[in-house]
């Protein structure tokens, strides 16, 4: 069941996931297309480490476009999209495994560390953090080998 070092090098995103996609072959499906880039969208880079890419079609990196403001909302002024929106969006559009393997309420499971631009998301406001164009959001779990 082990992955090969070759796979790891070729597919690496530099965040230390190690298991190959082969562990979940049945989940190798393409995620649905994100909204296309346009004036009212922002670009967000998503990365997964420590094996979490397995939950997202085994793809360690995703670049997605999100609407700049929460759609279908009557809020005035318009509500910029935040991490709460992103996590929900990921569950609906990107997640290739069961929801409980990633989500916990509005947030993510304990044991998944979320980083916004190289900082623990709890330093940035967690679910309330308002996403900006070109933000990078990283999801990792811990490693144990030694």
């Amino acid at each position: 069941m082990a992955s090969t070092s070759d796979d790891i090098i070729k597919n690496s995103n530099g965040l230390g996931y190690t298991a190959s996609s082969a562990a979940h072959p049945e989940t190798l499906i393409k995620p649905p297309a994100a909204p296309s880039k346009g004036q009212d969208t922002i670009e967000v880079r998503l990365e997964f480490g420590g094996g979490l890419h397995l939950l997202f079609s085994s793809q360690p990196r995703h670049t997605i476009n999100l609407p700049r403001f929460v759609p279908d909302s009557d809020a005035s002024p318009p509500q910029p999209v935040n991490m709460r929106y992103l996590v929900k969006w990921m569950k609906g559009n990107l997640l290739s495994e069961r929801e409980e393997m990633f989500g916990d309420g509005d947030g993510v499971r304990p044991g998944i560390l979320v980083l916004i631009n190289d900082a623990d998301w709890e330093l940035e406001g967690e679910l309330e953090y308002e996403l900006r164009d070109r933000d990078e959001v990283v999801f990792i779990s811990t490693l144990h080998g030694g």
Binding site: I9, G14, T142, G145
Partner: protein, 432 residues
């Protein structure tokens, strides 16, 4: 000339520390440590702090070896080394303190031999016993820092809890394959005005173990680059030395390393302690009675999905007619009817490329599970892998497909796999 040593002779701005530094350096220590002492961050006070320091390094393997090497080299005065494992040939590509002629020696003992040769000035205390919930606190109490160089979640959480109970910082690192990470957890940072700020503990950042997440493997299965454990262990030693000499990072950081990434090391700002933490929070449920915390069940499933597989599980007898021994396989391969058999090796291609049995076909387990029909149909299908675990899964999958199909063949797999083949049939067959 005045060789008198002491913090009063320095311009240390950390003089508010209540620590006492009664030691002085011997003449040869000035020479030995001169190249680091002349750096402004070190000076004589830094060297004396190192000499006074008592640290516990748990694990003298891939991470422990480089960590220990630099701690001893830098002159950390007292180093306890905990490891109950013995040196094996497959350790030596990364566990660089051990040597070929010390195979089967206890690792703590072997590391001590290397470190003593490097620096006879440091006090080394080897421990052959494992650290368990009942022994952790008494064993670790004498030390002012714990350095976690172990390789499994149970000891990682246990050492964290011990560090919290003993109120000492924990330097914790991990490495597998081409990735690693390390950080300082627990204890407190000291800001410029002398005020202390608690660091998050390991449990604050990693409150639970994700079962079966991909990084949670063992080096013997996933493999590991020697230079990756080397770099992570070196980073850990750097953190330990920075803590001892009072030059730690003002903000807690987590370092993520991947051998093939750019940048090579990515540094993350960590959050403050969690108020919900069961170890270091305001209402902890973990007490000095560490045995009361169920480490086994807390970590269950962490090292893989479902039950752990080992050499033993690869040797189980299995259902009637489902498994054959390597000797039976040898007979079938020599028999004139061997053409009626297809021998499928389910290991990853890279392992098949290292060594394989003549006439075997490589179809990796994940490919079989994804599409069982890729296994060629013959009257006799035999699955083979390294230890006899994956081959059972492959045979089971094919039997399930057959039960709803007209094609009927005999599906079996080999107990103990290629390790058993090398042991019982062909001693010339490589074990890796």
């Amino acid at each position: 000339m005045n060789y008198q040593a002491g913090p009063s002779t320095s311009s240390s701005q950390n003089a508010q520390e209540e620590e006492e530094v009664p030691l002085s350096l011997s003449l040869d220590e000035y020479a030995r440590y001169g190249r680091q002492m002349i750096m402004p961050d070190f000076g004589l006070p830094g060297q004396l702090r190192l000499k006074n320091a008592k640290v516990a390094v748990v694990g003298a393997g891939g991470l422990g070896c480089p960590t220990l090497q630099y701690l001893a080299g830098a002159g950390v005065g007292t180093i306890a080394i905990f490891d109950h494992d013995t040196v094996g040939l497959s350790n030596l590509h990364r566990q660089i303190l051990h040597t070929t002629d010390r195979i089967r020696m206890n690792k703590a003992e072997s590391a001590c031999l290397a470190l003593r040769a490097l620096n006879p000035k440091v006090n080394l205390i080897p421990h052959h016993v494992p650290i368990t919930p009942s022994t952790a606190l008494p064993l670790l109490r004498p030390y002012s820092m714990i350095i976690d160089c172990t390789d499994r979640p149970l000891t990682r959480y246990l050492l964290n809890d011990a560090a919290v109970r003993l109120d000492v910082p924990l330097v914790s690192g991990a490495a597998i394959s081409s990735a690693g990470q390390w950080a300082v957890y627990g204890g407190a940072t000291t800001s410029k005005d002398g005020s202390k700020k608690k660091r998050a503990c390991y449990r604050c950042i990693w409150p639970s173990v994700l079962a079966g997440s991909g990084g949670n493997g063992k080096c013997e299965e996933q493999g590991v680059w020697g230079v990756v454990t080397g770099l992570v262990g070196t980073g850990m030693a750097g953190e330990a030395i920075k803590l001892i000499v009072g030059r730690e990072d003002p903000q807690p950081l987590l370092h993520l390393h991947h051998l093939c990434s750019n940048p090579l090391i990515r540094t993350i700002r960590l959050k403050p302690p969690s108020t919900k933490c069961i170890a270091c929070g305001p209402e902890p449920t973990i007490s000095d009675d560490l045995e009361k915390f169920g480490y086994e069940s807390f970590c269950a499933g962490a090292m893989g999905e479902g039950d752990e597989v080992t050499d033993e599980t690869g040797l189980v007898v299995g259902g009637v007619g489902e498994r054959i021994s390597v000797k039976e396989l040898d007979e079938i391969m020599r028999s004139p009817t061997s053409n009626d058999m297809v021998l499928v090796d389910t290991r990853p291609p890279v392992e098949f490329g290292i060594c394989s049995l003549k006439g075997s076909t490589n179809i990796p387990l994940p490919s079989i599970l994804k599409d069982p029909s890729i296994v060629p149909f013959k009257a006799e299908v035999v699955f083979l892998c390294k230890r006899g675990n994956d081959s059972q899964l492959a045979a089971k999958a094919i039997r399930q497909v057959q039960s709803s199909s007209a094609k009927q063949g005999r599906i079996r797999d080999v107990r103990g796999g290629l390790l058993a083949w090398s042991r019982d049939v062909d001693p010339e067959f490589p074990v890796y």
